[in-house]
Symmetry: C2
Subunit: 284 residues, 2 copies
DNA sequence: CACAATTACGAGGGTCGTAAAAATG
DNA sequence: CATTTTTACGACCCTCGTAATTGTG
């Protein structure tokens, strides 16, 4: 029977034009490739090459065989990839969230409940997350809005309240509360990968500039050593403690005070019962 | 790399359910199949089976792999078939004809001109033949009507004249000529595989019965030993000689006296020049 | 105890690489 | 003379089969 490795060798020849070059690329000796191609011809019962004494090229059969060999090989590669991807997906729990804070507790919780599983997480917007949930890309998603859909199970998971973080000398540092419009136009330090908060900032403070910082450590250094305002939240403070040398002022806009909802498909609710129970016991 | 033989083995296991049975069907020992499947799993980096001590079944990965393996294998088989079919078609000249008589000279002529080629011939009706010519299924076709088409080269190849073959005692045996309508309703011996003549008989003598005989020898025996009328033609007589103990009467209907045309595609005319020349020199 | 799967081990087939030959430009 | 293909020959890898082990119904 025809074998995959022969098709790979045939394609290499088709690509490189000579047996010598193809053999080199395949990390194989010429003679081995020469014989392998002879054997392929014998197995097909068909000549694939026109041979002159020191020259060999594909004939019409050979060109046709190359076309088909490409298809077979692509299909075989596809098989490997898909089976491996499926296996991975079976060993992975994917959580999608609209913001990072809920993941800080969710991921460790899932790790504890399913120690043998890989936990993967994504920050995406609501539409993408819902689509991903329905396509089984995510087992769970976390949104900052309630979803009423007959296919979807939705439970409140807690709240997050945004604060402005200012150096004590800042003119607004004495305020008890503040609105986005009061600070629109100022420049802010901002972390990247903050989900919907990013969109919210751009929307509510269109005149501001944001100095986006990818790295956690760099961000903290900048906060410490600059007078630039930035944002924090009750959940950040709960995780990291109160920031030193900073005054925090609540942001009063309703959009800055969100509730999170922990969401899964109804059809997986049964299987996820343990998770839902634990999530309920550990509200943010 | 994954190999075809492993996919065949996997499919055999999927089909027969146990390694023992599958190994038997594959003419292979169990241990060999067992190890082969272990190796397949190792190459994919994925488990394909759930193993108990003396039981092994496909897991979800395995079921998915089986699906893909089927596709790969079908594609590989398809590759073999198509390449082989293409090779055959390159070594074969196919002639289509509306009647057998022109083939009696055409086939030997082509065999002589192309001794290394296989000559294959078909009897079909005009539409099928024209379609086959355009689809390159036939390199040549022979019709009993002239074709005027800019893509098609058409040359007259000769004529065939139909005769009624009667035992001397038959009432019509003294006639100098006869029409189909004169004999409609009688029973006739008829050869099979006579192309358009068959349709013509059914059309012109709708009230007759035809005792169709597949075998040449049986047909001749029946002709000799029965008083049933049958048909012959100038080309049959030219080939086989005058029939013994029979009187032949010309059939005067214009449809019973046909001209044949030797036809190929214009685009192949150049390549077929030798054939066309020889056909022209050996008119029927 | 029949049957199924796995492990161990030795045999054999097939592919590989090296070396040599033949041909071309 | 460098490059290419093919043939010859010996080495080695890999798959195979036999035999033995473990486990199940």
């Amino acid at each position: 029977m025809l074998e995959i490795y022969q098709l790979e060798q045939l394609l290499a020849f088709a690509k490189y034009g000579t047996l010598s070059k193809a053999a080199e690329e395949l990390h194989l000796s010429q003679p081995a490739l020469s014989r392998s191609m002879q054997k392929l011809e014998a197995e097909l019962g068909v000549t694939l090459f026109e041979r002159q004494k020191n020259k060999i090229i594909l004939n019409q059969n050979g060109s046709l065989a190359v076309e088909y060999a490409e298809r077979v090989l692509n299909q075989a590669k596809d098989m490997m990839e898909r089976v491996q991807a499926f296996d991975r997906s079976q060993r992975t729990i994917s959580v999608g969230s609209c913001a990072p804070a809920p993941l800080w507790s969710t991921i460790p919780l899932l790790s504890t409940l399913y120690p043998e599983m890989t936990i993967s997480s994504d920050l995406k917007n609501t539409e993408v997350l819902l689509q991903g949930l329905k396509n089984r890309i995510y087992q769970f998603i976390i949104l900052h809005e309630e979803i009423n859909d007959s296919d979807i199970h939705c439970m409140k998971y807690g709240e997050e309240h945004l604060f402005l973080s200012l150096p004590p000398a800042h003119p607004l540092a004495e305020r008890n509360g503040i609105y986005f419009e009061d600070i629109d136009g100022e420049s802010f330090l901002l972390r990247s990968r903050i989900g919907f908060w990013n969109d919210l900032c751009l929307k509510k403070m269109p005149a501001s500039h944001f100095l986006v910082q990818d790295d956690q450590f760099s961000f903290e250094e900048l906060v410490k050593n600059s007078a630039l305002p930035c944002f924090t939240s009750d959940l950040v403070i709960k995780r990291d403690g109160t920031p030193t040398n900073r005054v925090i002022v609540p942001i009063l806009d309703p959009e800055a005070n969100v509730s999170y909802y922990f969401i899964c498909l109804i059809e997986t609710k049964k299987k996820m019962e343990v998770v839902l129970h634990e999530i309920g016991r550990h509200m943010l």
